[in-house]
């Protein structure tokens, strides 16, 4: 799993590539620290190239969401595939995020 974070015009984009399983989540937790420190503006979680997510991955998403909520940021989850959408649905995450 690799995460590419870009910041442009007050829009922070985190692009997830690969499987966000438990070990990957431990890595990603470090990668997204900059976002958690300044969770303002629009935060786009680009999941176009993410093939899998586990509960720990979901936890990462939830952490960002919570941080953004506290600071008035806006989190958008973009381009999740159907399998992951199923998981989001199962876990009620569809209700927690703005899905594009």
């Amino acid at each position: 799993m690799e995460v590419f974070i870009e910041n442009e015009n007050n829009v922070t984009t985190a692009r997830f590539v690969g499987r966000l399983d438990t070990p990957a989540s431990q890595e990603v937790a470090k990668s997204i620290e900059p976002i958690l420190e300044n969770p303002t503006g629009t935060i786009v979680l680009d999941c176009k190239e993410m093939s899998y997510i586990s509960s720990s991955g979901l936890r990462i998403f939830l952490t960002i969401r919570k941080a953004a909520a506290a600071k008035g940021g806006n989190v958008i989850v973009k381009d999740i595939n159907n399998d992951i959408r199923q998981v989001f649905m199962m876990t009620g995450f569809l209700n927690l995020f703005e899905i594009q």
């Binding site: 438990t22 070990p23 899998y52 509960s55 919570k66 009620g92 209700n95 927690l96």
Partner: protein, 731 residues
């Protein structure tokens, strides 16, 4: 000398003493032969000396006789003139002169009248003699000389015949040592009128006939009838001493009296005389006829045997040299024997070290059989029968995570380098396979780590397999090794891609293959020490013999024992040239039971192992043709369940296992998770409330919720110290 002492100190073996005895025997035989030779030589030399002496004796005698004859002839020739001149004594001087002039042997002559025969001249003896080469006249009829009193005058008159006088020094004439032959001169009436004489110089005689040159120190003596020396090596002795005196002078010890008796009695013969002066001498003697003299040739023994002794000495010298050479040879043989012994000691030492090396080597591979007595799903046996030298064969196997990892290999070459490389290969196999399940990856890892330097040019043919115990799936990778035999319902060579041996090309990508083993299938791995075992007729053991041995139904160990016996029978007394290594794996798990296909995965309690689950689910999905979405959710459920165990079942830092079994059935998939951690029932936790908003949602609790939602049945039990979570998914 030092060496000899060392030799005696060091060489105490029977062989050495044997050799020494041999030398002594040789020396004794040599000496004995030489002694006999000397004896024969001495005997023939003595015979030769005798022949020589006798010939000298007879030659000298003839020469003397010749002189005697000349003297007697001189008188015979002039006898008639002397008779005729008896009446004219004045003419007698001419007779004597004629004799002296005519006969070279004669140095003086006289015709001495018998006193009273001629009234006018009662005493008359004109004498002619040679002095310093001149002919000189004198008269013997002087008062001082008084010739009628002399032996030469008296004896012939008395005997009425010719007479050779005893030697004497003539004081009247030339003052020379001489002997005189005299004969009576008769007148026509038969009356003795005078005595006619000729003188022979003994000095001249000595010079003329006395030389004896057969031996440098040999000499001849002429002895008068009274035993006076007339001719001897030293002129000064002649006439002055008798044989008896000579014996005394030479300090005779024995034999001289016999010689004197013999010579004086006119006999001929040989005696050995012993004197202090000259040692032992052989004396040959014979009489000189008519004169009453006796002639002898003396040959000192030391002369005769001088040559024999010289040769004897030479022989002895040669023999000593020979014996010395023998000893030298013996010493060098003994030394090289000792060297050889030392080398042998070093060799034995080296051999012992190699043996220890081999023991260490052997201790690296599993040697206890059966290796997994608690298991009934596998029967394994393996063996290495080492050749004389430490070789480079190896095998290894162990079970990790319900997978049997095994390998067999053969390092090129022999000896210590090969065994070191073998040890390296074996530990690389263990280290890499601890982390890696793919045989190709294991082989590649070993190959990469192996120092592929071209200096040694060593390589390893290697076969590595990973057998999943529950399913019978065998993945394998061959690195230039002999294809193993595969026993299913028939025997065949396992289909292998040869690839390259290890240590040839570090970056080599190895191809992996796989088959599924069923109950009772078996795999026989071996090194070329078996297929190429050679008998004395240079035939190879070969595959067919190998197959024939394995044809019968036996346990793995019995198979290997039978194979060893078959090879031993085949090679007869030919020496084993290469290690014989075999590994027999008999798969005994009934993986076809109930149409179930079991899958098994064992993970450590390490988050990093989670990705293996994806692969695990992938294979199941392939088996069952599950769709992508279901596969992913199964993966997710398993990951959540496993993560739960990894995070919570074991205390921090404690290594534990999570065992995942998957049973693929017609209508469902059953997953059984078990661990030996503390009892923990994940199903007891309350479900996460997914209806809560962002602020109220807790971070945790999602995992088990996902499991419950994905799986149709989730149940927990704690049994035999294990947490067992069973999850069923209908399909």
């Amino acid at each position: 000398m030092k060496k000899i002492i060392e030799f005696f100190k060091e060489g105490k073996s029977m062989e050495t003493w044997g050799r020494l005895t041999l030398v002594l025997m040789a020396a004794i035989i040599l000496e004995a032969t030489s002694f006999m030779q000397q004896r024969f030589l001495a005997r023939s030399t003595r015979r030769e000396a005798m022949i020589k002496a006798e010939s000298v004796l007879s030659t000298t005698r003839y020469e003397i006789m010749d002189v005697v004859e000349q003297a007697e002839q001189a008188i015979r020739d002039n006898m008639w003139i002397a008779q005729w001149c008896l009446d004219n004594p004045d003419s007698l001087i001419n007779v004597t002169r004629r004799i002296v002039e005519e006969y070279t042997a004669v140095v003086g002559s006289t015709v001495a009248l018998v006193p009273g025969y001629n009234k006018k001249l009662p005493f008359y003896a004109p004498y002619t003699y040679v002095k310093d080469g001149e002919i000189v006249f004198t008269s013997l009829a002087t008062a001082e000389y008084n010739y009628p009193a002399h032996e030469w005058f008296i004896e012939p008159l008395e005997m009425g015949m010719g007479y050779w006088s005893e030697p004497y020094l003539d004081t009247n004439g030339g003052n020379i040592k001489m002997t005189t032959y005299s004969r009576p001169v008769l007148d026509p009436l038969g009356k003795t009128g005078a005595v006619i004489t000729v003188d022979i110089s003994l000095e001249w005689l000595s010079k003329h006939v006395g030389r004896v040159d057969i031996y440098p120190d040999a000499y001849s003596v002429l002895v008068s009838r009274k035993g006076v020396l007339m001719m001897s090596p030293s002129d000064s002795l002649a006439m002055q001493i008798t044989l008896q005196e000579m014996a005394e002078r030479l300090k005779s010890e024995k034999g001289f009296s016999e010689l004197i008796d013999g010579m004086l009695s006119g006999k001929s013969g040989m005696v050995t005389v012993q004197t202090a002066e000259e040692g032992s001498s052989s004396v040959y003697y014979a009489p000189v006829p008519r004169t009453g003299w006796s002639m002898a040739v003396l040959i000192p023994e030391r002369e005769v045997f001088k040559e024999v002794r010289r040769m004897g000495f030479l022989c002895m010298l040669l023999q000593i040299l020979g014996v010395l050479m023998l000893i030298f040879i013996l010493l060098s043989v003994a030394r090289s024997w000792i060297e050889y012994q030392k080398t042998k000691d070093v060799e034995i030492h080296l051999e012992r070290e190699l043996e220890i090396g081999r023991e260490i080597q052997m201790s690296m591979v599993p040697k206890v059989f059966p290796p997994f007595p608690e298991r009934n799903d596998i029967d394994i046996a393996a063996t290495i029968v080492p050749a004389k030298m430490v070789g480079g064969d190896l095998y290894d196997f162990y079970i990790r995570d319900e997978k049997l990892f095994f390998c067999i290999g053969d390092v090129s070459g022999k000896g210590v380098p090969a065994s070191l490389l073998m040890a390296v290969t074996r530990s690389l196999f263990r280290n890499i396979s601890a982390q890696e399940d793919s045989p190709a990856k294991i082989v590649e890892g070993i190959n990469r780590s192996m120092d592929t330097n071209d200096e040694t040019g060593m390589f390893v043919t290697f076969f590595c397999g990973v057998l999943e115990m529950h399913t019978g799936r065998l993945r394998y990778c061959n690195a230039g090794h002999n294809a193993p035999l595969l026993f299913t319902d028939h025997v065949q060579l396992l289909d292998v891609v040869p690839n390259l041996p290890l240590g040839v090309e570090g970056s080599m990508v190895f191809q992996e293959q796989q088959i599924n083993l069923l109950l009772d299938d078996a795999l026989y791995l071996y090194t070329d020490g078996i297929s190429e075992a050679e008998n004395p007729r240079h035939e190879l053991f070969g595959l067919e013999r190998m197959e024939a041995v394995l044809h019968e139904r036996r346990t793995a160990m019995e198979h290997l024992d039978a194979m060893k016996a078959a090879i031993a029978d085949f090679v007869e007394d030919a020496p084993q040239s290469d290690d014989i290594t075999m590994l027999f794996i008999h798969y005994l798990n009934d993986n076809t039971q109930n149409n179930n296909m079991a899958r098994h995965l064992i993970l450590h309690n390490d988050i990093q192992q989670i990705p293996q689950l994806a692969e695990f689910v992938e294979t199941i999905a392939e088996e069952k043709n599950l769709d992508q979405a279901l596969a992913m959710s199964l993966n997710l459920a398993l990951e959540e369940a496993v993560t739960n165990v990894i995070l919570y079942a074991y205390p921090n830092g404690i290594d534990g296992l999570v065992d995942i079994e998957a049973f693929i059935r017609e209508d469902c998939l059953e997953f059984i998770l078990s661990d030996s951690g503390k009892p923990f029932d994940p199903t007891a936790a309350p479900d996460a409330d997914i209806t809560l908003g962002v602020d109220e949602r807790s971070i945790g609790g999602l995992g088990i919720y996902l499991v419950r939602n994905i799986m149709d049945t989730v149940s927990y039990r704690y049994e035999n110290g294990k947490n067992i979570l069973t999850m069923i998914k209908k399909i």
